[in-house]
Amino acid sequence: MTALTALDVSVRPEENATLRPVPWRRMAWVTWRQHRTALTGVAALLAGLAVLLWIVGLQLHHAYAAATACRPAGSVACGALINTFNRTGGFLVNGGILQVVPALIGAFLGAPVLARELENGTVRYAWTQGFGRLRWTLATLVALGVVVAVAAGALSMLTSWYYQPYFATGNQSLSLTTLNPLAPGLFDLRGVAFAAWTLAAFAIGGLAGTLIRRVVPAIVATLAAYAGLAGATGGWLRLHYLTPLVTSKLNIPDSAWVMTQQWFTKSGRPASQSALSQVLQGAPGQLFGKGGVPKSVTVWQYLVQHGYTQWTTYQPASRFWAFQWIEGGWLLALSVLLIAVTMWLVRRRVV
């Protein structure tokens, strides 16, 4: 065979015109083989947490059932059972260690996806294969992103079950620990938020890795960016998803998340603390209990009688799912955007 015939395009006619691309499914093995160590690590982390939640969760549910079934209420024996419930799983009450899961996945799975390739120069191999660099990037990011989001979603179902006893109405009257479903640190562990945060952390990692092109700095940047975003969302943004309810009454449910509470004068101006104290100076002694501590309801009534109004803005717990979908929605949109930006960078990236 001479060189010329071998080079003749007509020898391989299927290469002309419509070139059938390499099927997407072939990336499944490639992605698994390249990231199996990190994926195994993620699986081990999630499985470990699942076992922990399961074991502690069984104790917690057991203690809760015992505490609520105890009769007669208020007895010493019941008090002991209530204490047992309140002490069980104390390290998880505020969300604690579960908060770091999305950050770890973003940093140790998301950030290296492109950073390691760029740092080691293996993009020059990966991006010159027939599969094509944009398809390679898209397949890798989407496959890994979906896997970690689904895994996180599975864990958050267990988390939701774990925290159930804390949200029951009537806990407070029994002095059982009560948690607010909208509380930062808890809200994002349940529902769809946990999976969405994990996906977003992964997408942040992917973009940071593409921009920074070095694994370790990309990991640090991912952790910082995630912490900033999660902090800003929990501390401020989440409470503004929907216009808060406003009331001048005391009918705020215990489970509501109170945003602001402020006394106003008759003319509608905020009342200063000193003005309120002055009014209360003239109050009869029975407003104050032992040691001069004001009894809150009577103090409230006294101030209302004197023309003051207390305005409270709050988010009712019934908005939990609306908030979940809002948070899940914008995080999904953010993740898609971050992946799109990553793709755009990959397209024009100087290697």
Partner: protein, 303 residues
């Protein structure tokens, strides 16, 4: 068909021009050597050809008109990058599997046979192979794709003489037996004569010379004569002058039929001599066709 065709291609990194108005056409069926000093723009040109980079200006096509980096181009062009990047924690077998999955064509039997011949254990991690074995593995991955164009960036720079010889032997076998066109860059001039039948000389981001080696050798002579007369020689274009105390050596564009001035002797030039002559004169006129300048006729270059 031209396996690589560049029209006024420039590439800029920030304010630095890595490549300036490069026009070039490498016909199919050659082993083309891209030669030039470090920083001449060889790697940039090759990265453009395989689609890793996009030109700042101009356009570059491969395999007879497919834009570099397009699906058809990626399918037909195999690239072994500088320092042969491989996934160090993957075994040779995994690298084969990976490459098979990422390409439309992959000749598993060929790849396994070759690795067996080379004594590269399939189960060994790529990072644990010697430098020569890593290069051979990368080359095997590229050739098993049965590319129509094989692009090699400084493939032998890091290799010892034996590994270098074995590597180039594989490349030449592929070129001869399967008709693969090869474009390779090198700053090692020795051995080029044995390997390349097409030469592209680059310096300072420009193409100086491009042409078939036989044509280039036939159109250049080395004139040896009195050093005093070297400056006055003007009958044929002089590429480079190397003067000793008594004698001067002039690399000139002249064929064997051109007359030799009295007192001078003409010798045929070797590829290394020719390349060195041009590389020492970064501004020397590019040959055989005027490949510098704005309105380049591709036919002149490819002729």
């Amino acid at each position: 068909m031209n396996v690589v065709e560049a029209r006024g291609v420039s590439k800029r990194y920030g304010r630095t021009w890595a490549l300036r108005e490069c026009s070039l056409a490498i016909p199919a069926g050659h082993v083309a050597a891209l030669v030039g000093p470090n920083g001449a723009g060889k790697t940039t040109l090759l990265n453009l050809a395989v689609g890793l980079l996009a030109p700042s200006q101009g356009d570059l096509t491969v395999l007879g008109g497919h834009p570099a980096g397009s699906p058809a181009a990626l399918d037909g062009v195999a690239f072994v990058a500088q320092d042969t990047p491989l996934y160090k924690n993957l075994s040779a077998a995994d690298m084969l599997h990976l490459t098979r999955n990422l390409n439309r064509h992959f000749d598993q039997a060929y790849a396994e046979t070759r690795l067996a011949e080379l004594g590269i254990p399939l189960k060994r991690k790529a990072g644990k192979l010697s430098g020569g074995q890593q290069s051979q593995l990368a080359l095997t991955l590229a050739l098993a794709r049965h590319p129509r164009l094989l692009v090699l960036d400084e493939p032998v720079a890091m290799l010892d003489p034996i590994a270098r010889h074995d590597f180039m032997a594989t490349v030449l076998t592929a070129a001869a037996d399967d008709g693969v066109s090869v474009v390779l860059s090198s700053h090692v001039l020795a051995e080029l004569e044995r390997v390349a039948d097409y030469l592209i000389l680059m310096s300072l981001g420009r193409v100086q010379v491009a042409g078939e080696v036989d044509d280039l050798l036939a159109s250049h002579r080395m004139l040896t004569g009195p050093a005093a007369e070297a400056a006055t020689y003007a009958e044929r274009p002089v590429v480079h002058v190397r003067s000793g105390e008594a004698q001067a050596h002039l690399l000139v564009r002249a064929s064997a039929d051109d007359p030799v001035p009295r007192g001078w002797e003409a010798h045929p030039v070797g590829l290394e001599e020719l390349a060195l002559g041009y590389l020492r004169e970064a501004g020397a006129a590019a040959l055989p066709g005027p490949v510098r300048g704005r309105d380049v006729e591709m036919s002149e270059v490819t002729k």
